[in-house]
C-alpha cells in the first residue's frame, strides 16, 4: 500500500505558514519590548538630575540619602529637604516649579523605585557604607546620569547599564573581599 503525506502537507501548509508568522511576531514583539522599553530607567514625576546635583555641583550622596550610613535603607529626602535649597536656588526652572507645587499642596513626590532587590534578600546599606564601599560600586556612575538607570557590574568590575543585579555579583564581591560569612546563605536570606 502506498501512503503519501504530500496531500496532508498541502492542506496543512497555509496553517503552518500562519503559525510561523505568529511565532516570528512573538519574537519580534518580545525583542522590541526588551530593547526599547527595558523599564530599567523609569520616567520620574519630576525630572530630577543626579548629574546636576552629584556631578556638576558635587553634592555628597549622603547629604540627601542621610540614612544610608545608619539604616538598612538609604532613605529618600523629604520634600522639605529639597525645598530647603530650592526656595532660593533655580526657582524659575519648570521642574522646580513642579517641586514647589508638591510642597505647597503638602503632598509627597511619588518617586518610582529604580534599584530594587527581591523581598527575600536582606540587604543593608549601613554595613556596606560603613565598610567603605563607594555608592557607585553598586549604583553605577550616578553622577553622570540625568535619569537613573538600573546598573550592575560586569566581571571586570565595570558598570553595566540596564542590567539587573544577580546574586553572583554579590557573591563575587563578598569572595573578593573575603567577607566573614559572606557566602553563607543566611547572611542575606533571613
Amino acid at each position: 500500500m502506498n501512503v503519501s503525506i504530500v496531500p496532508a502537507l498541502k492542506v496543512l501548509r497555509p496553517a503552518a505558514l500562519v503559525a510561523f508568522a505568529a511565532f516570528i511576531g512573538v519574537v519580534v514583539g518580545y525583542w522590541a519590548n526588551a530593547a526599547f522599553f527595558p523599564g530599567t530607567s523609569p520616567k520620574q514625576p519630576i525630572e530630577f538630575s543626579h548629574r546636576i546635583h552629584a556631578g556638576d555641583n558635587e553634592v555628597p550622596c549622603m547629604y540627601c540619602h542621610t540614612e544610608a550610613r545608619r539604616s538598612i535603607s538609604a532613605g529618600v529626602p523629604s520634600v522639605s529637604k529639597c525645598v530647603g535649597c530650592h526656595a532660593e536656588v533655580a526657582t524659575e526652572r519648570p521642574q522646580i516649579r513642579k517641586l514647589m507645587k508638591y510642597w505647597n499642596n503638602k503632598e509627597p513626590i511619588p518617586w518610582i523605585k529604580v534599584h530594587d532587590l527581591p523581598d527575600f534578600v536582606h540587604f543593608t546599606h549601613k554595613r556596606h557604607v560603613l565598610a567603605g564601599i563607594e555608592c557607585q560600586t553598586c549604583h553605577g556612575p550616578v553622577e553622570t546620569m540625568d535619569r537613573i538607570h538600573v546598573t550592575s557590574r560586569a566581571l571586570d568590575g565595570s558598570s553595566q547599564l540596564d542590567t539587573p543585579w544577580k546574586m553572583g555579583l554579590c557573591l563575587n564581591c563578598h569572595k573578593e573581599h573575603e567577607v566573614e560569612n559572606g557566602t553563607d546563605c543566611w547572611t542575606c536570606h533571613k
Binding site: P14, G25, I109
Partner: protein, 765 residues
C-alpha cells in the same frame, strides 16, 4: 516562493501582528513590578526610615499594669515586649500583652462616631461627626444637670486607674451623679474584703513568691490568670531555680488542675467551696500541736475548736494525714507563704475562706517578712478598686434601670451583657434606659445596644497613667504614652469626656484642654512629693525621664507593725458553701475559669490568642467542657461528644474534653468564647459559661460566686472533632513511656503499677 493570494497575505499579516502584541505583553508581564518610594513632606524628628524607635508605655490588656516597650518602624507599631525597668514584669510579658498589636490593627475596630438609626440592637448605624455626636450627648446631659437630675446619669467603665479615674470622678461629681462604677468580671472583691477584715486595710498585699520556700496556694491560679500573673511567674521561676541550694516547693489546692496546679509539686483537690475549711484545719493543727506560741494562743484555740483534723478531713475530702503533713511542712519550712483567691474566693463563703488563709500566714509568722506577705504602701495615684462594682451593685443598677431611674448610661470598655449571668437580666434592664452611649473601640455585645458610639483610641494611641495593683512592695507608677498616631477617627476616652465637659460649660472645675495636660498635672504632684535635694531640676526634665524609662518609683519599703484585733480572731470560721441548684437534680458543680488566653472574653477578638492552644488541653478556637474520665465513663461520653450543660438558669452546648485532673463531681469550662458580637474572630464561636451561672453571691461583698452553680450534663448524641494540637494523652501500648524497675544495682525491689494506663514503677524503700 509560493504564490500567496490576497486572503493568505492578510491571514499572515494578522497572525504576525497578534504575535507581536503577544510577545510584547509576555516581556511586560515578567518585568519587575513598579514600586514607589514615597518620601515624607516634612521629616519627622523621632524616627528614621529603617531604624526602630522603642517607646515605653503601659499594657492595658488586664489590670496588672505591666510596663511594655513597643518597637515602632516608620511610625507603625511592630512588636510589643516587656519593659525591663518596670518592677511588675521586669522585661517579661504574657501572650495577652504581646497580642496588643492586634487590638490596634484589628479589622473590626469602630473607626468613627456612629449613631443608631433603627431600632436599638438592629445594628443599623450611621456615621456622624464628632461634633454631632458630642453635642447630642452633651445636650442630653445638660438638660438633666440643669434640672438637678444629674444622678440619672450612670458612667460604667472597665477598671481604670490614675488620672482617667480622677477625671471620671470630677466629671460625675460636676453632673451631680454618684453612679460611677467600674466593672471587671474577675475583680477580686473577696480578696480586698478579706484583707480589710484581717489587716484593716482594703489593699492587696505583696506576696513574695520569689523568696518563699513553701507556697500553699488555695485556688489562686497565680501563674495563669490571678491578679498579676507575669510578676508571679517571675517569682515562681526564681523560687524554683534562682537559688543554687534551695528549690521552692508549691502546693496547689483546687478542684480542677490549672496551669499553676500543673507546675506545683503537689496538687490537692478539696471539695468545691471547702478550701477555707482546709485552711482552718491546718490552722487548728498548727495551734493544737503547739507550733504557735503567740500571746493570743488561747483565743485561737477557742476560735478553731470546731475545725479538728478529722472533721475537716471528712468535710473537705482531704485525708487527715495530708492535712497534718501540709501543716507541719508549712510551719517548719521558713519562709513559707499561703495565698488564696481565684476559685476559692468565688464561693458564697469567699471572704471567710480568704480570711482563713490570712490566718495561716499570721500563725506561722509570715507577715511583713521576706518570702512571706509584705504590706504595700499607699499608691501614689488613684486605683480602680474603690469604684469596682460587685455583682450585687450591678443587680441594683439593673433594678434602677428597670425602675426608670437611669436616663443616660455611658459605657467605657466594659461589656456587662457578656460578663454578667443571664439571670441578672442586664440586657432587659438596658432596654429601659433611654440613651446609651458607648465609648468602646469595638462592637461588643453591650456596645451593639448603644444609641450613640463615640469610639475611643486603643491604649497604644492614647495618654494615660497607671499605679499597679497589686503593688510591688514600694510606691511605683507609670505613664502610658501614645506609640503611634491614631489610625482612625477616634479620640482618647479622656478627651471625649473633656469635650463633653467643655460643651457643658464645666471648664472651671475641669480645666484641662487635653488628656495629656490632665496627666501632666497629676504627675506634677508626684514630682513635688519627691525630695527637693535629689529630685530632677524641673518638672519638664522629670516628665521626660519618666516617659523615657516608662516607669517611676520610690525606693523606700514600708515598715508595718501589724497587730491583730481580738475581734478578728473570734470572727474566724468558714460556713458551708451554698450552691445554686439542688444536688439531686444538678449533680455537678460548674467551675468556670478565666482563660489563660482569652482572659474574661476581652481577647476573643484577637486571632493570635484564638489560635494559641490552651496550656492544659491544647484546644484552639472554641469551647469545651472538662469531665473526669470516671464521670465521662459513667455518662458514656468520650472526647468530642456534644453535651448540653444545664443549670437552673440556662443551658449551653459544648464538646466534652476528658480531663484526668478534675474532681469527678466537678465540670470545668473556660470563660472567653460564646460572643454574639465583638468582631469576626469572636462572633458565634463556642459557648459562654457565665450565661448560665446562678445569681449566687458571696455573702459579704456581694461579688458573684461564680464557682457556686450546679449543673447537669445532657448528651445530645452529636459529635464534633475538637481542634487541638495535642495528640493522645495515653500510651496505648506504644511504649512511649519507657520504664525500668529499680534494677539490681540499686538493691531495691520494685513492683510496677498502672495509673491511668501509664505504667509507673513504685520502688519500696
Amino acid at each position: 516562493m509560493p504564490n500567496i493570494g490576497r486572503r493568505e497575505f492578510l491571514k499572515l499579516v494578522g497572525a504576525g501582528s497578534i504575535g507581536v502584541g503577544a510577545g510584547f505583553k509576555l516581556r511586560e508581564s515578567i518585568k519587575h513590578p513598579q514600586e514607589y518610594l514615597i518620601p515624607h513632606v516634612m521629616a519627622p524628628e523621632d524616627f528614621s526610615t529603617g531604624i526602630a524607635t522603642w517607646y515605653n508605655t503601659v499594657c492595658s490588656m488586664c489590670s496588672a499594669g505591666c510596663g511594655i516597650s513597643v518597637r515602632t518602624l516608620e511610625g507603625r507599631a511592630k512588636k510589643i515586649e516587656g519593659n525591663p525597668s518596670h518592677p511588675v514584669n521586669q522585661g517579661r510579658l504574657c501572650a495577652l500583652g504581646q497580642s496588643g498589636l492586634q487590638v490596634l490593627y484589628n479589622p473590626d475596630r469602630i473607626i468613627g462616631p456612629l449613631l443608631q438609626t433603627g431600632k436599638r440592637g438592629s445594628m443599623s448605624f450611621a456615621q456622624i461627626t464628632w461634633e454631632e455626636g458630642l453635642s447630642k450627648v452633651a445636650d442630653r446631659l445638660d438638660v438633666l444637670r440643669t434640672a438637678n437630675r444629674g444622678n440619672r446619669v450612670c458612667l460604667l467603665s472597665q477598671g481604670v486607674g490614675g488620672q482617667l479615674a480622677q477625671l471620671f470622678e470630677l466629671f460625675m461629681d460636676q453632673l451631680g451623679s454618684e453612679r460611677l462604677l467600674h466593672y471587671d468580671f474577675d475583680h477580686p472583691h473577696t480578696l480586698y474584703a478579706a484583707n480589710q477584715r484581717f489587716f484593716g486595710e482594703e489593699r492587696l498585699p505583696y506576696y513574695d513568691l520569689k523568696n518563699t520556700r513553701y507556697l500553699l496556694s488555695f485556688g489562686a491560679d497565680y501563674l495563669g490568670s490571678w491578679i498579676s500573673p507575669v510578676h508571679h511567674s517571675l517569682g515562681f521561676g526564681y523560687s524554683r531555680q534562682g537559688r543554687p541550694d534551695v528549690r521552692g516547693r508549691f502546693v496547689q489546692i483546687e478542684p480542677r488542675m490549672s496551669l499553676s496546679g500543673a507546675a506545683a509539686d503537689e496538687w490537692i483537690a478539696a471539695r468545691p467551696g471547702t478550701e477555707g475549711l482546709l485552711a482552718l484545719g491546718l490552722a487548728h493543727h498548727i495551734v493544737a500541736a503547739g507550733h504557735y506560741q503567740g500571746r493570743d494562743r488561747d483565743d485561737w484555740t477557742e476560735a478553731l475548736r470546731a475545725y479538728t483534723t478529722n472533721q475537716v478531713a471528712e468535710q473537705t475530702g482531704v485525708s487527715a494525714a495530708t492535712i497534718t503533713r501540709l501543716a507541719d511542712t508549712f510551719v517548719h519550712t521558713e519562709p513559707s507563704l499561703a495565698i488564696g483567691g481565684g476559685v476559692a474566693g468565688n464561693h458564697s463563703n469567699g471572704v471567710d475562706t480568704l480570711v482563713a488563709v490570712n490566718a495561716l500566714n499570721y500563725l506561722v509568722g509570715n507577715l511583713g517578712k521576706q518570702g512571706g506577705l509584705l504590706f504595700n504602701p499607699e499608691p501614689a495615684g488613684q486605683v480602680s478598686h474603690p469604684r469596682q462594682a460587685s455583682f450585687r451593685t450591678m443587680l441594683e443598677l439593673a433594678e434602677d434601670a428597670r425602675q426608670g431611674n437611669i436616663e443616660v448610661l455611658i459605657l467605657n470598655g466594659t461589656n456587662p451583657v457578656f460578663s454578667l449571668p443571664l439571670a441578672a437580666g442586664f440586657r432587659e434592664a438596658l432596654a429601659k434606659i433611654p440613651v446609651i452611649v458607648s465609648l468602646s473601640s469595638f462592637m461588643d455585645e453591650t456596645t451593639a445596644l448603644a444609641d450613640i458610639i463615640l469610639p475611643s483610641h486603643t491604649y497604644l494611641e492614647s495618654w494615660g497613667d497607671d499605679f499597679p495593683e497589686p503593688g510591688v512592695g514600694f510606691v511605683t507608677g507609670a505613664v502610658s504614652q501614645p506609640v503611634v498616631s491614631p489610625l482612625y477617627n477616634t479620640r482618647a476616652t479622656g478627651d471625649i469626656l473633656l469635650g463633653l465637659a467643655q460643651q457643658l460649660g464645666l471648664s472651671d472645675a475641669i480645666p484641662w484642654n487635653s488628656m495629656k495636660e490632665c496627666i501632666e498635672d497629676g504627675w506634677r504632684q508626684i514630682y513635688e512629693r519627691g525630695d527637693p535635694e535629689t529630685r530632677e531640676e524641673s518638672f519638664a526634665s522629670f516628665w521626660r525621664a519618666v516617659l523615657k524609662a516608662g516607669v517611676w518609683g520610690e525606693k523606700s519599703r514600708r515598715e508595718f507593725a501589724f497587730t491583730l484585733k481580738k475581734g478578728v480572731i473570734n470572727s474566724i470560721g468558714v460556713p458551708a458553701p451554698v450552691f445554686s441548684g439542688s444536688s439531686d437534680e444538678y449533680p455537678f458543680v460548674l467551675h468556670p475559669y478565666v482563660s489563660n488566653t482569652l482572659h474574661d472574653g476581652r481577647a476573643a477578638n484577637l486571632p493570635w490568642l484564638q489560635e494559641l492552644p490552651d496550656p492544659m488541653t491544647s484546644v484552639v478556637y472554641g469551647s469545651w467542657v472538662e469531665l473526669n474520665p470516671v464521670t465521662a465513663g459513667q455518662l458514656g461520653l468520650t472526647e468530642g461528644d456534644l453535651v448540653d450543660i444545664e443549670s437552673p438558669h440556662g443551658r449551653i452546648r459544648a464538646p466534652v474534653y476528658v480531663y484526668p485532673a478534675i474532681m469527678p463531681d466537678v465540670v470545668a469550662m473556660p470563660i472567653g468564647q460564646g460572643h454574639s458580637e465583638y468582631g469576626r474572630y469572636a462572633k458565634n464561636r463556642g459557648a459562654n459559661p457565665i450565661e448560665i451561672l446562678g445569681p449566687q453571691m458571696e455573702q459579704q461583698t456581694g461579688g458573684l460566686a461564680s464557682s457556686a452553680t450546679r449543673v447537669k450534663i445532657l448528651a445530645t448524641g452529636r459529635r464534633v472533632e475538637l481542634v487541638k494540637t495535642g495528640g493522645k494523652s495515653r500510651d496505648l501500648g506504644r511504649g512511649i513511656v519507657q520504664t525500668t524497675n529499680g534494677g539490681p544495682s540499686s538493691g531495691a525491689k520494685g513492683h510496677s503499677a498502672k495509673l491511668n494506663s501509664i505504667p509507673i514503677v513504685v520502688v519500696t524503700t
